[in-house]
C-alpha cells in the first residue's frame, strides 16, 4: 500500500513539476500548444487536466466593484471615528480613575444612595444628563441596577423606557449644540438600546409572545420618525450625517422586526413623527404589547438578556455602526443586521475571536 501511495505521489510530483514548467513557459508568452508539446507524453493528458483545473480555480478571483470599495471605506472610517470618540469619552473625564472602576463605583453609589433615600435627588438630577455630563454615569448605573433586578415583563418595559431616554438625550444634546463626539457616543447608545430591545423581543416572540415585538416596532418607528424630523432641521452637516445613520440603522431594525412574523404585526404606524417630542413615551408606557402572561415562561430568556447590561457590556463600535450605514444605498449590507439580530448567540466579537 505504501509503495502504491509513494508511486502515486511520485507521479503527482512529476505532473506538478510539468505543470509548473508549462506555467512558466506560458508566462513568457509561449503558446499553450508549444508549451504542452514539451511535456512527456506519459503525463501530458493529466497536465492538461491540471492546468484546466487551476485555470478554473483562478476564475474564482474577482475584484471588488468600483462602487463597493469607496462605500465601505466611508462607513469603515466613520466607525473608526466613533471608536476614537468612545475611547476619548472613556478617558477624558475620568483621568487616572479607571473607567471600569468608576462604573462600578457609580453603580454602587447609586444603590447606596437609593437605599439611603438620599439618592433620589441625584438620580432625578441625572435624568436630564447626556453623555459627557458628570452625572451621566449615575443615570447609566441606575438603568443597570433596575435591569439587574427586573424580571419577566419588567425587562421589556425597562428596555423600552431606555429607548425613550435615548431619544430625550438626543434631543437635549441637539438643543445644547453638543459636539460631534457626544453625538457619536449617543449614536452608539441608541444602537445598543435598540439592538438589545430587538433581540429581547425576537426571543420572546420565538417563545410565543409577540406583544413585546409589536411594542418594540412601534417604539422604534416613533424614534426613527423623530430622528428624521431632527435631521431635516439640523444645519450642521456632520451631525445631520450621524442622525441619518441612526435613522438608517433603526429602519434596518424595523425591517428585522417586521420579517419575524409579519402576519402577527399590528398595522404599521406611519413613518411620520409624533406630534410632540415625547411621543415615544406612549410607545413605551401605554403599549398594547405590554408583556403578557407568556412572559413568565420566557423569564429566563429575559434575565439572560439583562446580564450584558448588568455587566456594562456595550456593542463593539463595529457592531454598532455596521448596521448604521445608509441602508438605502447599500442593499447588500442589510442582511447583516438581520443576521446578527436573529442569532444573538453567534459569536461576532473579534475580541473573543481573532
Amino acid at each position: 500500500m505504501n509503495d502504491l501511495t509513494d508511486a502515486m505521489s511520485e507521479r503527482d510530483a512529476a505532473i506538478l513539476e510539468a505543470v509548473e514548467r508549462v506555467q512558466a513557459r506560458l508566462a513568457t508568452g509561449v503558446a499553450e500548444a508549444s508549451a504542452l508539446a514539451e511535456v512527456p507524453a506519459g503525463v501530458r493528458e493529466e497536465v492538461e487536466v491540471t492546468l484546466r483545473a487551476l485555470s478554473r480555480v483562478r476564475g474564482l478571483a474577482e475584484a471588488p466593484s468600483s462602487a463597493f470599495g469607496p462605500r465601505l471605506e466611508a462607513s469603515f472610517l466613520d466607525a473608526v471615528d466613533v471608536a476614537r470618540a468612545q475611547q476619548g469619552a472613556a478617558r477624558a473625564p475620568r483621568g487616572w480613575f479607571g473607567a471600569a472602576l468608576l462604573r462600578t463605583a457609580a453603580m454602587l453609589g447609586a444603590v447606596v444612595l437609593a437605599l439611603a433615600g438620599g439618592g433620589f435627588a441625584a438620580v432625578q438630577a441625572s435624568e436630564s444628563t447626556i453623555p459627557g455630563d458628570a452625572l451621566y454615569p449615575v443615570k447609566e448605573a441606575g438603568e443597570t441596577v433596575r435591569l439587574y433586578f427586573a424580571r419577566g415583563d419588567g425587562v421589556t418595559r425597562l428596555r423600552l423606557a431606555q429607548l425613550v431616554r435615548r431619544q430625550r438625550e438626543l434631543e437635549s444634546a441637539l438643543q445644547r449644540g453638543a459636539p460631534a463626539r457626544v453625538l457619536l457616543a449617543l449614536e452608539v447608545r441608541v444602537a445598543t438600546s435598540t439592538k438589545q430591545l430587538v433581540e429581547l423581543s425576537t426571543r420572546l416572540e420565538a417563545a410565543g409572545n409577540p406583544a413585546p415585538a409589536q411594542a418594540t416596532l412601534e417604539a422604534v418607528k416613533v424614534l426613527q420618525g423623530r430622528i428624521d424630523v431632527l435631521t431635516a432641521s439640523e444645519a450642521r452637516p456632520d451631525v445631520a450625517r450621524t442622525l441619518s445613520r441612526m435613522s438608517n440603522f433603526l429602519a434596518a431594525q424595523e425591517r428585522e422586526l417586521e420579517t419575524v412574523a409579519p402576519g402577527e404585526r399590528l398595522a404599521p404606524t406611519p413613518g411620520t413623527p409624533p406630534a410632540s417630542p415625547g411621543g415615544g413615551t406612549s410607545g413605551a408606557r401605554e403599549t398594547p404589547g405590554g408583556p403578557t402572561a407568556a412572559d413568565a415562561s420566557a423569564t429566563p430568556l429575559a434575565q439572560r438578556d439583562a446580564v450584558p447590561a448588568a455587566t456594562g457590556t456595550t456593542p463593539t463600535p463595529g457592531g454598532a455602526l455596521r448596521e448604521s450605514t445608509p441602508v438605502a444605498t447599500r442593499p447588500a449590507l442589510v442582511p447583516t443586521a438581520a443576521r446578527d439580530a436573529a442569532t444573538p448567540t453567534a459569536p461576532s466579537t473579534p475580541t473573543r475571536r481573532p
Binding site: V19, L333, S348, T351
Partner: protein, 211 residues
C-alpha cells in the same frame, strides 16, 4: 467561545508570520508603526490598512461565497471586526495582518453559514446577482454554476490546502508570501500545494466526467 485550539493556531500563525521570515526589516517596522497608529484609532492609519487589505480580503471572501452580495457583506464584517479587535492584533507585517483578517473571514463565514442554517431564508441578493452581473442571465447562471462546482471541490480540501490554493491561485501570491500568510515554512507549503493540486485535479476532472 473560541475553541482554544483555533486560537492557538492563530497565535502560532501570527508568531510564525511575524518571525524572521518577514519581507524586510524596514517594511516591517513601517507596518508595525501603522498598526500602532491604528491601535490609537488613527483614521489615516486605518485608511491605509483598508486600502492595502481590501483587494485581498474581498477576493478571499469572494472565493468562499456564492454571490457578490455575500462577499461584500463578509468583507464588511471582516473590516468591522478588524476595527473592534485591533487591540489584539499581534502581526507586525502585512502578511501577518492579512493572515489575521483571513482568519476573521473564516470565522465570520462560518457564523453566517450557521445563522443561515438556523434561520433559512431566501437569499434575494444572490438571485439578484445572477441577473445583475451581465446582460445575459443564462451566462451569469452558468458562471455561477461553474464557481459553485469549483468551490465544492475546494471544500473537499483540508483547511491548510485550501488556504495555499487560495493564496497562490486566487490572490496570486508567490511561495514566500503564501508561506508567510499561511504561517508555515516553504517546504510545508510546497507539500500542501502538491497535494492540493493533485486532489483538485481529481475532483474537478471527476466533476467534468460526471456532467
Amino acid at each position: 467561545m473560541v475553541p482554544q485550539g483555533a486560537r492557538g493556531v492563530l497565535l502560532e500563525r501570527q508568531r510564525v508570520s511575524g518571525s524572521d521570515e518577514s519581507p524586510g526589516a524596514s517594511e516591517s517596522a513601517a507596518f508595525a508603526t501603522l498598526i500602532r497608529r491604528a491601535r490609537a484609532y488613527d483614521r489615516d492609519a486605518f485608511g491605509e490598512l483598508y486600502r492595502r487589505s481590501l483587494g485581498p480580503v474581498y477576493r478571499y471572501c469572494r472565493a468562499r461565497t456564492d454571490s457578490t452580495a455575500e462577499a461584500e457583506e463578509l468583507t464588511q464584517d471582516v473590516f468591522m471586526a478588524a476595527l473592534s479587535g485591533i487591540q489584539n492584533v499581534r502581526a507586525e507585517h502585512e502578511p501577518g495582518w492579512l493572515a489575521w483578517l483571513f482568519q476573521v473571514a473564516r470565522y465570520k463565514h462560518a457564523d453566517a453559514l450557521r445563522a443561515r442554517y438556523r434561520k433559512p431564508q431566501a437569499r434575494l441578493e444572490a438571485a439578484g446577482d445572477a441577473v445583475d452581473e451581465g446582460a445575459r442571465p443564462l451566462e451569469a447562471v452558468l458562471a455561477s454554476d461553474e464557481r459553485a462546482e469549483v468551490r465544492r471541490a475546494m471544500e473537499q480540501l483540508t483547511d491548510d490546502q485550501r488556504e495555499v490554493i487560495v493564496c497562490k491561485y486566487v490572490l496570486g501570491y508567490d511561495n514566500e508570501r503564501t508561506a508567510a500568510v499561511v504561517g508555515k515554512n516553504a517546504n510545508a507549503v510546497n507539500q500542501l500545494h502538491h497535494r492540493a493540486v493533485a486532489s483538485l485535479r481529481r475532483l474537478l476532472a471527476g466533476a467534468e466526467h460526471g456532467r
